[in-house]
Symmetry: C2
DNA sequence: TACGGTTGATTGAATGGTCAGTCAATTACG
DNA sequence: CGTAATTGACTGACCATTCAATCAACCGTA
């Protein structure tokens, strides 16, 4: 674990946090546009408004910047999903809210999501595993919501892993295939249509009743 | 279009085809393992059993090799899916066979599929569009199968684009998330469980009847 | 309040290694 | 022999990383 920590030469933790945030913002933009290998440290530094040498006060090597960037996206997922569930009790509501929230974070961070797909393999084995572990944690949020629905007999007894990934891929798909989808649909339409296909009938009759009732409440 | 053609200095078309096949095979392996930028032309040449200079007789630049590699995967999709449909008449059978075939090609070329996701953005704008156009052609096969089901009232009137991509992502997902799924499921289980979730109830009652009847015929 | 000194942040030019792509020389083949 | 294919040493560019030099903020002292 400690080998995975990114070390900074600068002592002041607030400064480290601020500078890294600037570096990550600049790097995310450039990596997304040009890719990791086509982006130089000089460019990142310039966009962040600092000198190239200074980057190396906050990071040991270029790969560290990539890890910071990817962690930043992955953590955004883990942060935003739970907050969408506040106040929701019914398991179907919670599942639907989870899916919607996931799609919306992905939409907000479309470029960075694609970047994560492109570049995770450029990380060292250990760091890749770290990212995968975070992904599994996030997926737990979805898997939990599914399990609750099954427990309440609102969903048929399908394979939770497979449904979880189907949902994950729907969310990520919005970013991965935005070159096609973006011009045909809004994110809200995409969420609605995806849910209709997915829940259209994995739901048991009683689950379906709730979903359709809730659905008709929208304009 | 002609600007997209990859030119070779060597005249003999058979030799060009043979050598390119060797180069593509070597490059696919190395790009998958190490990524495009970490792989040198020397390594590709060595694995293909030729000298580094010779590569440049068959290709103008390193990017050309990447295009050849990605085209090779994408074309494998377009080739294998139609052949799985032979002899099938019922629209549901055809849809199910399409999905199964797609998942199985992806499984056979897992590493290359992931590579296509990682590296398509490294191509020039025009070449990326070329790949995307091929992807759309392949997706047409799926979209057509869906449309036929809808026409025959076997599927509800869902958004074809969205369902198409849901299917595409299920297939690609097997490769993209094989680090998680591979140890828990076989590809055949994955196909079965995915179909159950997906068709479990996008199907109309009569579509469902057919799907379930067909499904129970399997051991 | 002024000032010399210390610490830590910041700069950007210099270094060293890596590779894509070239080409003169060599080989195989018909 | 002549033509096409093949080799691999070489070059020029590029870029991650280092580091000597500068700068700024703060502290203790008179």
């Amino acid at each position: 674990m400690s080998a995975l920590q990114i070390t900074s030469i600068v002592e002041d933790p607030e400064l480290v946090q601020r500078r890294r945030k600037e570096i990550v913002a600049a790097a995310t933009e450039l990596f997304s546009k040009q890719g990791f290998y086509r982006t130089t440290i000089k460019e990142i530094a310039a966009l962040a408004g600092i000198s190239s040498g200074l980057v190396y006060q906050y990071v040991r090597e270029k790969d560290d910047v990539l890890l910071l960037v990817i962690l930043d996206v992955v953590e955004a997922y883990a942060r935003e999903i739970p907050s969408a569930l506040e106040g929701l009790e019914h398991p179907i509501d919670r599942l639907v809210a989870t899916i919607g929230a996931y799609c919306r974070v992905v939409d907000k961070r479309r470029a960075a999501t694609v970047l994560a797909y492109r570049s995770t393999k450029s990380l060292s084995r250990d760091r890749r595993r770290l990212i995968q572990a975070r992904e599994i944690e996030t997926n737990q949020l979805i898997a939990g919501a599914i399990a609750d629905c099954i427990k309440s007999r609102l969903l048929r007894r399908i394979n939770i892993d497979v449904l979880t990934y189907q949902i994950v891929l729907i969310a990520h798909g919005w970013a991965l295939k935005s070159w096609y989808l973006k011009s045909r649909l809004s994110i809200e339409q995409y969420i609605r249509d995806s849910l209709d296909i997915l829940l259209g009938t994995v739901l048991t009759p009683s689950g379906q009743k709730h979903y359709l009732a809730r659905r008709s409440r929208r304009k």
